[in-house]
């Protein structure tokens, strides 16, 4: 191998090759950190709620008829809506609830085990009619589902309320024992009878309580009734207008807003989508630009060394030997860049973690990026190096 001559040649053109070394180093640093950011966002975005997100639509009524001021009127309207929605072709299940997944929040409160040591646990809390589990597509783990008779519409009632809780909340509060038949106390010391547990449940929240939920039996109507409706797979388009039409037929003293859970989820992950698109684009472009840089510099050094190449060919070097020389030269430069780049990648990562976005670099991404840049170096060198192999030995005999 021609290590000796290559090193000596590199020494004579320090700046030119240093440019490539620095470019490769920065490229490696940027590519690895960009992949880390993409991975970070993707993990958040692909985390499953456990619900049938694609087939659920959120319906919100905005009442304006004066009758809605009156609680019994509102409850009657909710029950009429539930019947009308359930009877709509394409509808699988419906619930009247203030739960809405994928907004990064919701409503929460603190509970303690009724017979425990009084330690309180923060959890998400929602009201809903019995259809909630069927609507979300979540299954009952133990006990029973909510029933219509569990709902108590009297706002001044002091009687215990009825609820089902997520399995993760059961584990947290009851320490591995069954919650069914036990009681919870909320912050007002109101007693809650737990009649069942369900799984899975995941709804990202501002506080780390994503997996904890209590579903109370109840109606939600004060600021306009809200519903989650699950439709048969693939029938969202036809069913949504039908639901609106039937609800207005039932009572047209209100306006109706509808949003699919997919839309709400897309909206929640706006930043993640921007990060993913932008960083993918940056990776492609930066590899392309650095590749072009290598092509440019190699092409230049090929042109500059026409005479030497001709001389070597005249002295018996094969085309393969010339090609090998340039590939080897690039490989040495690339490796120098990659060694510097690994250091730069970890350096940039530390800077980003402390000052901005926070995921640690995964060594596998570094390894993948190193392989990518090796390939890039070979491809980018091959283009001008192939030209070098075509120089005729005759060049050597000509004057400058």
């Amino acid at each position: 191998m021609e290590f000796g001559p290559i090193i000596r040649a590199l020494k004579r053109n320090k700046v030119r090759f240093l440019l490539i070394v620095v470019q490769i180093a920065i490229t490696l640093a940027v590519v690895t950190n960009a992949i880390t950011m993409i991975r970070d966002e993707s993990v958040k975005m692909t985390k499953s709620s456990g619900f049938d997100d694609d087939n659920i639509v959120w319906v919100r009524t905005k009442p304006f008829a004066p009758g809605f001021k009156d609680l019994p009127y509102r409850i009657a309207a909710v029950n009429a809506d539930l019947r009308a929605i359930q009877a709509t072709p394409g509808v699988v299940a419906v619930t009247n609830t203030n739960f809405l997944p994928w907004q990064g929040g919701g409503s929460s409160g603190e509970v303690a085990a009724g017979d425990g040591d009084g330690s309180k646990f923060r959890t998400q809390m929602y009201y809903n009619t019995p259809g909630i589990l069927d609507t979300l597509g979540v299954h009952l783990v133990s006990g029973r589902i909510l029933r219509d008779t569990d709902i108590d519409d009297d706002p001044n009632s002091k009687a215990p309320s009825t609820a089902i809780i997520s399995r993760d909340l059961e584990r947290l509060v009851f320490k591995g024992k069954s919650a069914v038949g036990r009681q919870l106390k909320d912050s007002d010391n109101t007693v809650v009878n737990v009649v069942g547990t369900f799984d899975p449940f995941y709804n990202p929240y501002g506080w780390p309580i994503h997996e904890y939920a209590i579903f109370y039996a109840g109606h939600v109507s004060r600021r306009g009734a809200m519903y989650l409706v699950r439709v048969a797979p693939g029938s969202m388009k036809q069913t949504v207008p039908l639901i609106e039409q039937r609800m207005l037929q039932t009572n047209n003293g209100r306006n109706i807003d509808m949003k699919t859970i997919s839309e709400i989820k897309d909206n929640f992950f706006v930043q993640g989508r921007i990060v993913r698109t932008a960083m993918s684009l940056v990776i492609v472009l930066i590899v392309l630009v650095t590749g072009l840089g290598i092509v440019g510099v190699t092409a230049f050094s090929v042109t500059e060394r026409r005479k030497q190449i001709g001389t070597r060919r005249a002295l018996g070097a094969t085309k393969g030997a010339v090609l090998r020389y340039f590939l080897l030269e690039n490989w040495i430069v690339t490796n120098a860049g990659l060694i510097l780049g690994v250091a730069a990648a970890y350096g940039l990562n530390v800077l980003l973690v402390t000052n901005a976005a926070g995921a640690k670099l995964d060594w596998r991404f570094v390894a993948a990026a190193v392989v990518l840049l090796w390939l890039q170096g070979i491809v980018a060198t091959l283009i001008p190096a192939m030209r070098a192999t075509r120089f005729s030995p005759v060049i050597a005999t000509r004057g400058a």
């Binding site: 920065i26 309180k120 007002d188």
Partner: protein
């Protein structure tokens, strides 16, 4: 001389259009990426109310559960303190005459009843605030203006509507003095806003702060009479009772209080006033947690509420590195291009051109490339920003402001200069004698 250099540079660039396109394209990509992402960051980071944001202060008080602190939010960096205050505390603090201006505020959903011939009734976002709100946050009026202090004091039925609402209700005409029904009462329009879409809804950083401002504004003092409940966040740790009266007197936090103070000294004084109030309330069994009140300027609040997400900063940093790569790349390409021209330059040198002449001529060429790439990059980034704006929200507009155009211009000239220095120096130090030997 400059003109001559520019002419030569253009000639040189036209000689090899492919190489020129690659060079300019590379710089354009770098400028596009770096301007786009630094502008996006700038939109979040820039002062939403220049000259004012250090005089507007947001008040927070720790009235939380004596046994457990307010749960900390993973997105914010500030103290673990409820982000809003209770109605009763807001009303009590508003009695202070220390602030130049002040407003308690919250957002609600209320039903607006247009003339039935015009449109169906609809539920609209309403901001409950005092007359000072409009002055404090530089809200622009097309017709009329804010209601007066008397309307605040007497809870008069007056309303300010935004441009879009005025279009919908009154066809865009000057509607000051006209009447509109909201819920079960008649309101008189006193002001109509100009189209107003701040990128950050700086007056309410709770919840979705890139949302559009509310279309309807009513006096805060209507709250008890009309029993208006917030549609924004409300945080509580103990029972809020059953009646509306109970709710207003509870420790549930759902009101935002802004005060305008003239100086840090006044802010200090106001902070002492809040502390004094809380110490007094402690005697009555409220505020059982350790004394913690915050009077935070809008500027600092934006930091605490995490308006700039770390991802936005990281993308800006990475896009600057991308520009650095493009500049390095340019250096490599120019080096090749210039050195290939050594014989030609040698002739010029032999005919009397000085090194400085040669150097300046090549730097001119670099700057020309930098400017062309910069202009192209800025055009590209305008497109990219439109796309990102649409991504963020249907009505968000991300646009280059003069500050960012200057920054982009500076970046492209800087990139051209930095990239060109070494190649230009190499070419001007070529030995003519070596090149001219036959």
């Amino acid at each position: 001389m400059l003109l001559y250099n520019v002419r030569i540079a253009i000639k040189s660039l036209r000689r090899n259009p492919v190489l020129t396109a690659v060079i300019i394209g590379g710089i354009a990509l770098g400028i596009c990426a770096s301007t786009t992402f630094t502008t996006v960051r700038h939109m979040f980071a820039r002062d939403p109310l220049p000259g004012k944001s250090s005089n507007l202060f947001y008040v927070r008080m720790d009235n939380w559960d004596p046994h457990t602190p307010y749960p900390s939010n993973q997105n914010t960096t500030g103290p673990t303190i409820p982000p809003q205050i209770s109605y009763r505390d807001a009303m009590a603090l508003m009695r202070s005459n220390l602030p130049v201006r002040q407003t308690a505020a919250f957002t609600a959903m209320m039903t607006v009843y247009p003339d039935p011939r015009v449109a169906r009734p609809s539920t609209e976002g309403v901001r409950l605030c005092s007359s000072d709100f409009f002055t404090m946050f530089d809200v622009p009026f097309a017709y009329g203006g804010p209601w007066d202090k008397r309307a605040d004091a007497k809870a008069e039925q007056v309303v300010v509507i935004d441009d879009a609402m005025n279009q919908k209700l009154f066809g865009g005409a000057n509607s000051v003095g006209k009447r509109v029904r909201i819920e079960d009462r008649e309101f008189t329009v006193v002001g109509v806003l100009k189209p107003w879409r701040p990128f950050i809804r700086m007056y309410d950083l709770n919840g979705n702060f890139i949302a559009q401002p509310e279309p309807v504004y009513l006096p805060f003092s209507l709250t008890p009479g009309m029993q208006i409940r917030t549609s924004g966040n409300s945080d509580g740790w103990k029972s809020a009772g059953t009646t509306f009266e109970d709710f207003l007197n509870s420790d549930v936090d759902w009101v935002q209080l802004w005060v305008e103070l003239r100086s840090p000294a006044e802010a200090e004084q106001y902070h002492r006033f809040v502390d004094g109030y809380v110490l007094e309330e402690k005697k009555h069994g409220r505020f059982e947690r350790p004394l913690m009140n915050r009077v935070t300027s809008l500027r600092d609040l934006m930091g605490e509420f995490g308006v700039i997400t770390p991802q936005v900063t990281a993308m800006a940093a990475i896009s600057i590195l991308f520009l650095a790569i493009c500049a390095l790349n340019l250096t490599g390409l120019l080096l090749g291009k210039f050195l290939a021209r050594a014989p030609e330059v040698s002739v010029r040198r032999a005919l009397g051109a000085t090194r400085i002449n040669v150097f300046l001529q090549h730097i001119t060429e670099c700057e020309l490339v930098g400017l062309a790439g910069g202009a192209l990059g800025m055009l590209l980034s305008i497109g990219a920003m439109k796309l990102i704006g649409k991504f963020i929200s249907a009505t968000s507009v991300i646009a280059l402001d003069s500050e960012m155009i200057l920054a982009a211009l500076f970046l492209s000239l800087g990139a051209g200069l930095l990239a060109g220095l070494y190649p230009a120096w190499r070419i001007c130090s070529v030995q003519p004698a070596v090149q001219l030997k036959v």
